[in-house]
Symmetry: C2
Subunit: 455 residues, 2 copies
């Protein structure tokens, strides 16, 4: 199959077919498409069109997958328009427990109860209820209960027989989990090992006991770092005494990683909600206003700083020439320093140096950059024949501001991380604004000093 690409022409054609109720042609199209493609199409249709199209999907697993793949707000709108019984029997019954729990957790309490009570598979319903208890952002909330479990005391044929029974429940089988009689996780067995094992082999002789697992309350970010570091496609989740609870698959963790990266990027750019270019105007405005308001408040504070030096500016208006430059350089250096710290914290690559050593290193880096930048701006002012007070002011201020902003940009995220606040909030706009203000103050103070001597 060729990879699907959404075009305006395709959507127009589809809307036409829906309007004319050409079921057979539509079913043919739906058959060719993957659930993720159908979900993408849904976002371009009206609710009525989407509903009509949806109930033409014959394959129940695919129908359930489409719901899973929808964006959260589209899904909520869509599900709201359907009775609880349809939701339970057409979707939830056909989903993996982790996807089902995610979707049910979006409902209010009453709807939750109603949907769960309509489920045909009581075992699945129980799994979902279990999963709903885990806090969002933990390994427990990411895991699915479906997995293939074998006992270490079995031999290969017993294992294969049991796996055949269990496999119908599990969508993707990457590993088989080996447990003891108490359900304690002992290790994993790759399907490849099973494939090449002698039929007489005992499970306990061929499984890999050096298995990496996480507890149910491990934070999602740590789960993502572990799966990435050890190149895992599935990670078992255990309880406090080591009993196997479920497994997390890589696709869910990739989503966590994407969201985390997008969130950090957006925070660094001053966007406070998860938005996309295709979102509506209201969402886009709301995501952007808060930071602009903070920037405005910061700017107003900056204007108070400048007002305080009004007399000096009146006497020496040339002071104003380099004011924005120094403020901007403070902002730039601060954002660089904080970005490196935030990213290293996120990926667990901080190294084992102490905070003092980190600050010392940052000071060294800043010292080099500050010296060169300061020299350049000195030379520039020398060439354009600025007066000596201004030349010295700009050079000394540049040096001080770069050093100060670097240390500040390094220290703030480390501090936030220490007190368990996401350091990503400190980058971008916040650091920039603060360094703008401080930079302006440093510059003007130095200016007043030098102009009092040579002015």
């Amino acid at each position: 199959m060729a990879n699907f690409e959404l075009t305006r022409e395709f959507i127009e054609e589809l809307k036409q077919l829906i309007e004319n109720k050409q079921k057979d042609k539509l079913k043919e199209i739906l058959d060719e498409l993957h659930a993720a493609d159908i979900a993408e199409i849904y976002e371009e249709l009206t609710l009525e069109e989407a509903k009509y199209l949806y109930f033409l999907i014959d394959d129940e697993d695919k129908a359930a997958d489409v719901i899973t793949e929808l964006e959260e707000d589209d899904r909520q709108k869509f599900l709201k328009s359907l009775p609880a019984e349809v939701i339970a029997k057409r979707f939830i019954d056909n989903m993996d427990s982790d996807d089902a729990a995610d979707i049910i957790s979006e409902f209010d309490e009453d709807r939750k109860q109603e949907v769960l009570s309509h489920m045909e598979d009581v075992n699945s319903a129980g799994n979902i209820v279990d999963l709903l208890n885990y806090e969002e952002g933990t390994a427990g909330s990411l895991m699915a209960k479906e997995l293939i479990k074998v006992k270490e005391s079995w031999d290969v044929p017993t294992c294969l027989r049991s796996m055949r029974r269990q496999a119908s429940e599990v969508d993707d089988v990457y590993y088989v989990y080996v447990v003891d009689n108490d359900g304690i996780l002992k290790g994993t067995l790759s399907l490849k090992k099973l494939l090449i094992a002698s039929p007489k082999a005992k499970i306990k002789d061929i499984y890999n006991s050096n298995v990496i697992s996480v507890k149910a309350d491990t934070p999602s970010e740590e789960v993502a770092n572990i799966m990435n570091k050890y190149d895992l496609v599935a990670l078992p989740v255990i309880d406090e005494i080591g009993r196997l609870l479920g497994r997390i698959t890589i696709d869910d963790v990739v989503d966590v990683m994407r969201e985390e990266a997008e969130k950090d990027y957006q925070l660094a750019s001053g966007i406070t909600e998860d938005v996309e270019a295709s979102d509506n105007v209201w969402l886009l405005t709301r995501a952007r206003f808060p930071w602009l308001a903070i920037g405005l408040a910061g700017g107003i504070m900056g204007s108070r700083v400048i007002s305080g030096f009004m007399g000096n500016l009146g006497n020496h208006p040339q002071m104003a020439i380099f004011m924005p430059l120094i403020a901007a350089m403070g902002g730039n250096v601060g954002i660089q320093s904080s970005a490196i710290v935030v990213q290293s914290l996120a990926s667990g690559d901080m190294g084992i140096e102490t905070t003092w050593k980190k600050l010392l290193k940052e000071f060294t880096v800043a010292f080099f950059n500050a010296s060169i930048l300061s020299l350049i701006i000195f030379t520039y002012n020398f060439i354009i024949k600025s007066d000596i007070a201004l030349t010295l002011t700009v050079s000394v201020a540049m040096f001080s501001v770069v050093i100060f902003a670097s240390l500040f940009g390094t220290f703030i995220p480390l501090l936030l991380n220490r007190i368990k606040i996401d350091p990503a909030v400190a980058t971008g706009p916040f650091i920039t604004t603060l360094n703008d203000i401080v930079g302006m103050f440093i510059y003007l103070t130095i200016a007043v000093y030098f102009f009092s001597i040579w002015g």
Copy 2:
């Protein structure tokens, strides 16, 4: 096994053991650790210590994995100190073809030849040479040649027998690929399907023909988006006429995604090279200086703009009070707009609107934000009893600059993307600096106008 955490104490202890050459104790420690952990430790050791430790690893696959997991610069330093024959026989022979090709591609031509000529497995050497031909950043450069291939004409037992033979070559088996007699990819067969299939079944009746694949020249970002969208753990790569060439596994794509996200984040923060907090001072300085130099150049241009208004500033120094505020707001709005476009382009969520519609939407968002911000700053100036010329200047300039910076921030990355330049270079510092300058110019021009009336 508990998850490993690198501590200063552990490294000190290890260095002690290496110094005292306590082989048995060290082997015991190495046995307990995963390759990724050993790679992490390496970065904290001297080259001599690392070499000593390295040759204590008994398991050849693990030894090869450690090399794969090292950071590129550490790996190069380490491999440089070893003869080509050791590299070929101890590492390259024991690696998957994609990892081997990645590492060999880091060598110069002579060393490449020398290492390849020392390889024992000619078939592997051939695979590596094939892979070296694909351009970096394409599907071909990400794929491994190792995979399990069966013919659609076979029955299940024939398939299982062949798989047993092939499996010893392949590390992780997620899918079996079904091809016809010409090697054309027909579909995939999940191990789960094979597990539950009747022994009499024919492959052609049980495989999934609706398979997603990519051509060898598909860009890595697209590969990542496809694997993410369709939740795939492995993706087959085909040539122009559909013959199966290899497969890409999710772990390699997760690395691509991480790198891409980190690069975008760093560009947005003004960092020009991939650095971590644990890198050395020289690398950190080098990664940060280029943007600071550009920021400085932008700032100097800004200072020229202000110099041009020196006469006006001399007469009305209060103009200077809000100059940095307006410049900063232009920068902030611009970075927000460009960040949303860059991120949506990267994740393929741009929607199907035309460029004009996107700009119109951006204009609407900007209009709301501009109106509110303008009103707030007007009210503020009214309350602090600023003179009328300054009040009007700041309010009108705020409105104009926010609108201008939004459109500019949206348009530039769309334009860069159209002409095939990575739009991420446009975000962050670049947009900020440009909007700083333009913002200052707009502000001062409006100021001159209003002060000429009410001044």
